[in-house]
């Protein structure tokens, strides 16, 4: 097996270049690559496009900041493509002021678009959004007597994902609901950086229980407090 480089969070953040489309795993911060996000916030790289389930939680009152929220606060995104911004008022403020373009995408459509990008699917038909604002500008197809929207794949330049455990070859396992968009994004981006809490020897992960095959992973980063 081919061994993957283990790099520091700063080195991982340096792979993100100005103007890139960045996929970031996590659901309101659960299952986000926090060390890499912190390093990217420090690096301050801007003009990025974010693909993520949401802009996470930015709750100054309760001092709760999760997931990509620090990058939003830093105004590192010129566009965010997400399903939800309701727990990060700063995103909404930036949207209203015209500082950031916000594309709201139904969550299932977002997940399937990321999968499609990784799976070589040129588009897919979904009933979600028919008869709503989501329909605008999209091709509408009727198959039998059902109406569908044609949704297109959504790939990226780099994926910053979070897994529980990797082997040295880069096979990944996720934990519980921290899985969410991470395995999909691993298939959809040119470069894939996986932050993990544990790195084990090749062969220690049961091949029936690999969630993301090693071929998708380019770099490993150890999460804070993780063990090799």
């Amino acid at each position: 097996m081919v061994i993957k480089p283990v790099i520091g969070a700063d080195a991982a953040a340096a792979l993100v270049k100005k103007g890139m489309v960045v996929h970031v795993g996590g659901f309101l911060g659960c299952g986000s690559p926090d060390a890499v996000i912190a390093a990217l916030a420090k690096a301050g790289t801007g003009s990025l496009t974010l693909v993520c389930n949401d802009t996470a939680i930015l709750d100054a009152k309760n001092a709760r900041v999760t997931g990509v929220a620090p990058l939003v606060a830093n105004k590192q995104f010129e566009r965010v493509i997400v399903s939800h911004i309701g727990t990060n008022g700063e995103t909404q403020r930036q949207m209203n002021s015209g500082e950031t373009v916000v594309d709201l995408v139904p969550q299932g459509t977002l997940a399937e678009r990321v999968r499609a990008a990784g799976a070589g699917i040129g588009g897919f038909l979904t009933p979600t959004g028919v008869g709503t604002e989501v329909e605008e500008g999209k091709q509408v197809l009727t198959i039998g007597n059902k109406v569908f929207l044609l949704e297109l794949p959504l790939g990226g330049d780099i994926a910053l994902i979070k897994a529980k455990r990797a082997d040295k070859a880069g096979n990944l396992q996720y934990a519980k609901t921290a899985r969410n968009f991470n395995p999909l994004m691993a298939t959809a981006c040119a470069i894939v950086v996986a932050e993990v809490e544990e790195i084990v020897e090749v062969g220690e992960i049961d091949p029936d229980e690999v969630h993301t095959p090693s071929i998708f992973v380019d770099y490993l980063v150890m999460a804070q407090g993780g063990k090799a």
Binding site: V130, K176, T177
Partner: protein, 222 residues
Amino acid sequence: MIEYVENKDIIARRIARIFKTGDVVNLGIGLPTYVANFIPDDVTVILQSENGMMGLGPAPKKGEEDKDLTNAGAVPATVLPGGCFFDSATSFAIIRGGHVDYTVLGVLEVDQDGNLANYKIPGKMVPGMGGAMDLVAGSRIVIAATTHFEKSGASKLKRHCTLPLTAANEVNLIVTDLGYFEVMGGKYYLLEWFKPYTPEWIKEHTDGDVVVMSNCQCSDIE
């Protein structure tokens, strides 16, 4: 003289009775989540959470939270024996594919054509639709859970929604703090009412065509 008193509790309690053992149910954030507290002991439903799990359990005890296990509202959660986890594409394959029997969602507006608006007030509140559009389009039966009236006193059950829709013609059942409705063929059908209201009072206070079913009865939930 009937006076309206908001009662979210009765909504959750009535919805909890709709399910039967084996049903797969997704409960939205807020009032819908509260439904889980009232599911009868002899009914075993399987709660799906769109962030990637089947078999959602009760909140963990304080100190036993797991950072890798939350519900769709980012609140610490647990998994019941026999539950499982999956990625977001699989989660919505389950939802879109019609494998969720019931989805229960909150409402900004709902109308008698089964249209639902619950994700956006233009220029005011734009949280995003999250998983709601897929849940409403994909679930077998869609239950709208809502107080009957806005703070202003206006009926949230409308003749026609005016806010941007979450989905068109997908709502099947509505439970408010006045009663339990089925939406069909462009009308509200009242199946059950709550005390102290009456079918007539409910008809008068709903913006739309309410048909009182012949077997409509007063709920025994108080």
